[in-house]
């Protein structure tokens, strides 16, 4: 049931955000997804954080719908399967989504094509987001596994 995916997406994003923030507080990473997303829209730091959180939750719901579509196709769901999707999601996010795609579309992040400065640059994340701290891949994977498990669990409960 689609409501299960949406509620799971909301709860999963909440947990994912909290886990990443906790990792940041414990000095494991400098990853700040709302800041990265928000600064794609505005240079104002305060507005960037607010917009970033809204975008982050929006993407959280979209990805939950994506998970839901796959659950429908394979006619299976559950928190373990969701956790596996979360693992794949984290590897995709670290290796392609944030590392390659985000710098291309982000107006304030450098890529290999960026020429001498016309705009301030955000530090690029690097492969598996390692530029933001060596524990960042671990924190990201754990947070996404939790997200996937919650989405899978809610979808399973709603069926």
């Amino acid at each position: 049931m689609i409501w299960g995916a949406l509620v799971g997406g909301l709860a999963g994003t909440l947990v994912l955000t909290t886990l990443l923030r906790a990792a940041s507080e414990f000095g494991l990473t400098r990853m700040d997804l709302p800041f990265l997303l928000g600064t794609a829209v505005t240079a104002d730091r305060v507005r960037a954080k607010a917009i970033g959180y809204a975008l982050h939750f929006g993407f959280g719901l979209l990805f939950a719908l994506g998970y839901y579509a796959i659950f429908l196709v394979i006619d299976r769901s559950g928190f373990l399967l969701g956790a596996f999707f979360g693992l794949v999601h984290a590897i995709f996010a670290g290796s392609a989504l944030v590392n390659i795609l985000l710098p291309v579309v982000h107006p304030r992040m450098g890529t290999g094509f960026t020429a001498a400065g016309s705009a301030p640059l955000l530090e690029p994340p690097g492969f598996l987001l390692l530029n933001y701290g060596r524990q960042t891949p671990l924190a990201t994977i754990i947070a996404h596994i939790a997200y996937g498990a919650i989405v899978g669990g809610f979808v399973s409960l709603a069926n």
């Binding site: 940041s24 507080e25 000095g27 494991l28 990473t29 400098r30 990853m31 700040d32 800041f35 990265l36 600064t39 240079a43 730091r45 960037a48 304030r108 450098g110 960026t114 400065g117 016309s118 705009a119 301030p120 640059l121 955000l122 530090e123 690029p124 994340p125 530029n131 933001y132 701290g133």
Partner: protein, 600 residues
């Protein structure tokens, strides 16, 4: 040229430092262009550049000519932007240092800009960035991002963007290079810091624009200050120094920008002053309101009442800049400024009982209410509860204003401030700003404390109020009885006490706090705030000639850029203690304003 300014085993004299800041943290720059102190991201965070208290392991950002030079400095007029000119045999070069205020495009979390301009000839320079995160306890990795040197440690990262400043060379823990600047040429360094977020790597254009707008913002702020007396330059510089110590996110005011600069070289009176003391409330409110800084005054007063909520009605001696009450003291494995150990972070005085604080806070409330026209009901209720607490506590011994680590005693200045606390509470209640139900009790207890002070706190032999009961020593804190309005400033006993302080504690224009034991070995220097308190006491007693003469002697004792530390060694003129010291600058402002007011 005589060569670089003197250092003792790698340590610059405290007098040689100038401060720059952005309302969140402060950097100290020595005359030789080395940034020896920078805590990130905030003033009370661990140091990243800490050579100030460990020349070997602390970390610094060196930028100086490679050839012998003479250095001269100034702040750009009415700003906290520092300009150092190096004169060498091959030419002159000017370095402008500032921590920028956010403006324009996406600003870094923290940004320190160093602009180098060739004035005449050609000058070869060298630089070295040697960051050590977490008081040198954090593991620091040096990496590169798109050719830019980056130092990373856990939640924190630092990037050094540079233009026309040589190709960076990477060591295990350092980044170095050398370059030359010719007449009309310029180079730029931008030290950008991130905390729990990706670094922002600015463009040269944006950083230079922020440097200009930062100078403009400081000038605009300074121009709005209201003082037109004879010590205008010193008063405005003090206001700007004080503004550096205002922690903008909360409104708290740090006592100083550093920890563990010693009160005696090689001694153990080394304290962490990167906290806010409610005791300074009255001095601060008085100074801020006199200079037309109403927003800062309002923010600080609100911060005190906010920070003290968790300990209410007990006022803790000090609070963290973010308002938290924990201040656990520990020692760092640092070498200490010129071997002065221990190097402390945190402050154990937080747990002491100091009864005078209540008088200062209620005096501040009185200033605040007079200038803003009132107090809100909740603040009034809480202030009344402070007065109740004073009624219950004044008979206890305390640690006193100087935070002695010896046994608690009945310090007379503490009792006098209890009289002030209860007096202000009564006045505020009469004005309808505090609940009146306990005002009879406040009045009754005030008279009991006053009787205690007058019968046990005055020595006919020394003709002075005394430091504590059962001893006859004079204490400079007794000057605060005049400043806070314990009695008529011209009351015979107060007139005699002011004379006794000058007679017993003065070394030239400088005043020691007291001469007795404070529970620690060694001696400290003369406490600058006390010297300014004496000026203010003279002014309030109508002794304007004495006040102005002493002020004229004190103001030139500032360093070359107008800043004061906590103390001065009367024998050598050397600065001692933490730097720059808010209480010294508050004392200067209030002394100058008092003379002005008394003369009109």
């Amino acid at each position: 040229m005589s060569g670089r300014p003197a250092r003792f085993n790698g340590y610059a004299p405290i007098r040689d430092y100038a401060a720059i800041g952005d309302g969140r943290t402060v950097a100290l720059i020595a005359r030789d262009g080395s940034i020896d102190w920078l805590c990130l991201p905030d003033l009370d965070s661990p140091s990243v550049l800490g050579a100030l208290i460990d020349a070997e392991r602390g970390g610094r950002f060196v930028l100086e000519p490679e050839v012998p030079y003479e250095a001269s400095r100034r702040y750009l007029p009415e700003t906290n932007v520092l300009e150092t000119t190096f004169a060498t045999s091959t030419g002159h070069v000017r370095v402008t240092d500032a921590m920028t205020l956010p403006a324009g495009e996406l600003s870094p979390y923290r940004e320190l800009v160093r602009r180098v301009e060739g004035v005449t000839g050609t000058v070869p320079l060298r630089w070295r960035l040697d960051p050590h995160f977490g008081y040198s306890g954090g593991k620091t990795r040096i990496e590169q991002r798109a050719g830019i040197p980056v130092a990373v440690s856990g939640r924190d990262a630092l990037a050094l963007c540079s233009w026309e400043a040589g190709e960076p060379e990477y060591g295990k823990q350092t980044i170095t290079s050398r370059f030359s600047v010719g007449e009309g040429g310029s180079s730029l360094f931008v030290l950008t810091a991130a905390h729990q977020e990706p670094l922002v790597l600015p463009t040269r254009t944006d950083a230079e624009a922020r440097l200009r707008s930062t100078a403009g913002a400081w000038r605009e702020w300074a121009a709005a200050r209201e003082y037109g007396g004879p010590w205008q330059e010193a008063v405005i510089r003090s206001a700007l120094a004080l503004k550096l110590l205002v922690f903008a996110p909360s409104g708290a005011i740090a006592a100083a920008a550093t920890t563990s600069l010693p009160e005696q070289i090689g001694g153990e009176r080394n304290w962490d002053y990167r906290f806010s003391w409610p005791r300074d409330a009255a001095f601060t409110l008085q100074a801020l309101l006199a200079l037309g800084c109403a927003p800062e005054a309002r923010a600080f007063f609100s911060w005190i009442l906010h920070a003290s909520q968790l300990t209410h009605p007990r006022l803790q001696v000090l609070y963290r800049l973010d308002g938290r009450a924990e201040a656990d003291e520990r020692s760092l494995p640092f070498a200490g400024y010129r071997g002065s150990l221990p190097v402390r972070v945190g402050n154990g005085a937080a747990d002491q009982t100091q009864l005078d604080v209540y008088g200062e806070v209620l005096e501040a409330a009185s200033h605040f209410a007079s200038s803003t026209g009132g107090l809100d009901r909740d603040h009034g209720r809480r202030l009344a509860e402070l007065a109740d607490f004073v009624c219950e506590s004044w008979e206890q011994p305390d640690a006193g204003i100087w935070e002695t680590r010896s046994e608690p005693a009945h310090f007379i200045q503490s009792k006098m401030m209890c009289v002030v606390a209860l007096g202000r509470a009564c006045e505020l209640a009469e004005r309808g700003l505090l609940p009146v139900k306990n005002s009879q009790r406040w009045r009754r207890e005030r008279e009991r404390v006053r009787e205690f002070v007058e019968t046990r706190g005055y020595s006919e032999r020394t003709r002075s109020y005394v430091r504590s009961v059962d001893e006859e020593e004079v204490d400079a804190s007794l000057l605060l009885a005049v400043l806070a309005g314990y009695d008529d400033p011209r009351a015979p006993r107060l007139l005699a006490t002011v004379d006794a302080v000058r007679r017993e504690l003065a070394r030239g224009p400088l005043i020691h706090r007291f001469l007795g034991d404070d529970g620690l070995p060694g001696e400290d220097g003369a406490f600058l705030a006390c010297s300014f308190w004496l000026v203010e006491a003279y002014a309030r007693q109508g002794r304007l000639d004495e006040a102005a003469a002493l002020m004229d002697e004190l103001v030139p004792l500032a360093n070359d850029v107008g800043l004061f530390a906590e103390e001065i060694d009367p024998a050598t003129g050397e600065f001692l203690g933490n730097f720059p010291q808010g209480l010294s600058h508050l004392g200067l402002i209030n002394a100058a304003v008092s003379i002005e007011e008394a003369g009109t």
